[in-house]
Structures are given as structure tokens and as C-alpha cells.
């Protein structure tokens, strides 16, 4: 019997295998990854510096122990070059592997901004454990770190690196932190707590060029000011890895297109996690991955299940001022309403039917995440 083959050993790949094993102890599973296959917690990558953790410290379970626990074969450090859909075979750097069903859990690549200058290639990004090890090495002797991007990952890294004793400057062309997730009155709550930690914020300007300067770098910003630092971290978003699927002729858009059963345009191939576009949505956070993995495990076990996503608040791990947000789509019709304003702010998004459809909880209100989720859909007085 040909195995179910899973490509990718991130949260999506491993959670899917774990869930599938709960339902089916016998189906042969092969997991192929270009990484080491060591299991780690990705959310911890952006709060590990303050805890003094090395990449090795962050490994929760080694690859071989994972393979043992999950009863699967694991091929680490293996690139998949091509999917032959007709023969149901994968061409890899170390031979051909047949599959019965194939799950793409390939993740995403950090977006790289086109920067000028002789040191543009020295800009780092951190999206997996190997990246973390490289970045940690690069900042060993650094004092001042510039972070390009003031969204969720940029703010988390700024908080973490400042807590670990680094001077940090965040540069972002938008007007305020976390602007992709919440309105200005909420996002700007982060400014003073980050400043108190030693984070300088430069919103409203972008980085034009990165050049070598003495032992570090000189950044030229769009207002023609200069900024000197010892290392540069880019955190401007992720792009789903669709290349392998695209070259195999699968339907793709921003991500690999799948339906509510996580099935691609080929009935034997599925996708989940950061590489997938599930019924038109790319959902790059932990909770959607857990829900998708559970649903896909059911589907692969022959059950007619569709993934359903409940309210999935996003937690921003900025310890200086914690935030939980249930974002609304850009085209959502309604208004943000101020519900409370103390050490932080509580906002609710009231839709056209006067119902609570989203929220932002910052500071002292951040812990009310679950209580607020329960109130979704209830009528809010205007």
C-alpha cells in the first residue's frame, strides 16, 4: 500500500500527522521535510531571545523521536523537486517516492522588499528554527537592531529583543503599529510601552537602502534620514509557497487553492497551513492550522467532514502591552466602537446588523479574549 505522504514538518505537517494517527493507527505515513524535522514551537521564535534560548533549546522533540511517537517514516533534509500527478510519484533529491494521497504543508517564504544598497542581502528574516539560529549568531555582538516592519511579527520581535537588552528601532511606512489588524486608536497603545522598553518607533517612513557602514549598517530611509545599526531584521509578511503545486498544474492563487475539505484541484492532493488558500482565505495563524489539521485527518480517514473555523482571536505576544484581536476583513461594513479605556483599550466592531463582529483588547483587557469571543454575534448598543 502506498503511503499518505506529508510534505513539511512545521506545525501544519506535524499536527496533521498527529491527528491522523489518532484516527488511524495503521495507515502508512511518510513525512518529507527540507528541514531537520525537529519539532519546535514556531510562536516561540518571536519571544525566545528574552528567555536566552538557543535554537537547540527550542527543540521540543527531535525528528527521530517524532517519527517514533507518530509511527511514520521521516525523510529530513530532502527537497521535493516535482510532483508527477499521473503516476502519483514525487521526485526528490534522493529518489522517487510514490503516494496514495499527498498533503502539502509547505509553509510560506518571508517577503523580501526590494532594497537598494550594498548590504541589502545582509537583511535577515526569521520564519523557522534554522533562520532563528542564523539570526541569533548574527546579533551576538550587536547592540542596535533595526526591524523593518511594524506588524505582528515585527512588534513581537521588537518587544523580545528589547527585553533581551538590545536597542531596537522599528521602521514601517504605515501610520502606526499593527495597522493591518486594528484601527489606529488600538495600535498606537503599543507605542509608549515599547518606547519604555527601549524601542524607537519610526512609523510613516520606509527603508530605501541598506549599506555597509563601519562594522554595521547604515539605513537610508524614505525621508532621506539615516539610521545606523548592527543588524537588520525584516518582518514584512509571508508569501505562501506555491511553486511546487503550480509547476504540477494545481490551481493556485495567493496560496494553493483548496476547498473546505482541504482538497486541491487534484482529488488526491491536499494542502493546509501557510501554503494553503482555504475557500479563498489565507489563514496564517496557529488556530486555523489546528482546525484544518483536524478536519483533514477526518477527510483522509474517509469521513465526510468540512473544516469550520470558529472565532479565532490572534494574540500579539508583546509582553510590554499584550494584545488580542479578532480582526475584521478590510471590506467589512460597520464601525469600531470604544467599549472601555483604561490601561489599554477595548474596541468592538459593530456590523451593519448592530452585532459584534470583531474586537481588539489591549493591555489590561487582553485577558478577556474568550469572554469577548462568546459575545460575537450579540447585539451591541450604538
Amino acid at each position: 500500500m502506498k503511503p499518505a505522504v506529508v510534505l513539511g514538518s512545521g506545525l501544519a505537517g506535524y499536527t496533521l500527522v498527529r491527528e491522523l494517527r489518532k484516527l488511524d493507527r495503521d495507515v502508512p505515513i511518510t513525512l518529507i521535510t527540507r528541514d531537520s524535522g525537529d519539532y519546535y514551537s514556531k510562536p516561540m521564535l518571536s519571544n525566545a531571545f528574552a528567555q536566552g534560548k538557543t535554537a537547540a533549546n527550542l527543540v521540543i522533540t527531535t525528528a527521530s523521536a517524532m517519527a517514533g511517537q507518530l509511527g511514520c517514516s521521516l525523510l529530513p533534509h530532502t527537497d521535493v523537486l516535482h510532483i508527477d500527478r499521473e503516476r502519483r510519484q514525487l521526485r526528490t533529491a534522493s529518489g522517487v517516492i510514490g503516494y496514495e494521497r499527498l498533503v502539502l504543508a509547505l509553509g510560506a517564504d518571508p517577503i523580501r522588499l526590494p532594497l537598494q544598497g550594498d548590504a541589502a542581502a545582509a537583511v535577515k528574516s526569521v520564519n523557522d528554527l534554522a533562520d532563528y539560529a542564523v539570526f541569533r549568531g548574527a546579533i551576538e555582538n550587536a547592540k542596535h537592531i533595526a526591524i523593518i516592519g511594524g506588524g505582528l511579527i515585527g512588534c513581537e520581535f521588537a518587544n523580545d529583543l528589547a527585553s533581551a537588552g538590545y536597542a531596537v528601532t522599528v521602521i514601517d511606512p504605515t501610520a502606526y503599529p499593527l495597522s493591518g489588524l486594528m484601527p489606529e486608536s488600538a495600535g498606537k497603545q503599543l507605542l509608549a510601552p515599547l518606547a519604555a522598553l527601549g524601542v524607537a518607533c519610526r512609523f510613516g517612513v520606509a527603508v530605501k537602502a541598506v549599506n555597509k557602514h563601519a562594522a554595521g549598517y547604515a539605513l537610508t530611509l524614505t525621508d532621506d534620514s539615516m539610521l545606523h545599526c548592527d543588524a537588520v531584521l525584516s518582518a514584512v509578511g509571508l508569501r505562501p509557497r506555491i511553486g511546487l503545486a503550480q509547476s504540477a498544474g494545481l490551481a493556485v492563487n495567493r496560496g494553493i487553492l483548496v476547498d473546505a475539505q482541504l482538497r486541491s484541484s487534484d482529488a488526491a492532493i491536499f494542502a493546509l497551513g501557510d501554503c494553503a488558500e482555504i475557500e479563498g482565505r489565507v489563514l496564517p495563524y496557529v488556530l486555523p492550522i489546528m482546525h484544518a489539521a483536524r478536519a483533514l485527518a477526518q477527510v483522509l480517514s474517509g469521513n465526510d467532514v468540512r473544516v469550520e473555523f470558529p472565532a479565532m482571536p490572534v494574540v500579539v505576544k508583546t509582553s510590554a502591552h499584550p494584545i488580542a484581536v479578532l480582526p475584521v476583513t478590510r471590506d467589512a461594513v460597520g464601525d469600531w466602537k470604544l467599549l472601555a479605556n483604561g490601561h489599554g483599550i477595548k474596541l468592538g466592531f459593530v456590523d451593519a446588523q448592530d452585532q459584534l463582529a470583531g474586537f481588539v483588547l489591549t493591555g489590561e483587557y487582553a485577558t478577556e479574549r474568550n469572554a469577548m469571543s462568546k459575545q460575537l454575534g450579540t447585539i451591541v448598543a450604538r
Binding site: R18, S41, I60, P313, K317, T367, R369, N370
Partner: protein
């Protein structure tokens, strides 16, 4: 008293310590935590915790 760890974010629940922020008293056994309880750090379900030896 046992210790449980969130497999997603590494959050630790120690039965001996409880979780004051969520009104869970010291000594509360894992089995007595409601099934709809979610990890305070990453929000995943109680089912995504595993017992760890520390």
C-alpha cells in the same frame, strides 16, 4: 501533581501551581479543567496539551 505542556507554544500548566490569572486554584488537576479551556498563550484547545516530565 503533574505538569502539562502546550504542544503548540510551549506554555506550561503545573497542577501544583494552578493558574491564578484564570481563576484556577493551585492543586487543580488537569482532568478538572473544563474541556473548553484554551491555552492562555496561543489559544489552542486543552486536547493539544501533553503531559511532560520536568
Amino acid at each position: 501533581m503533574k505538569v502539562w505542556q502546550c504542544v503548540v507554544c510551549g506554555f506550561i500548566y503545573d497542577e501544583a501551581v494552578g493558574l491564578a490569572a484564570e481563576g484556577i486554584k493551585p492543586g487543580t488537576k488537569w482532568a478538572d479543567i473544563p474541556e473548553n479551556w484554551a491555552c492562555p498563550d496561543c489559544g489552542v484547545a486543552k486536547a493539544d496539551f501533553e503531559m511532560v516530565e520536568l
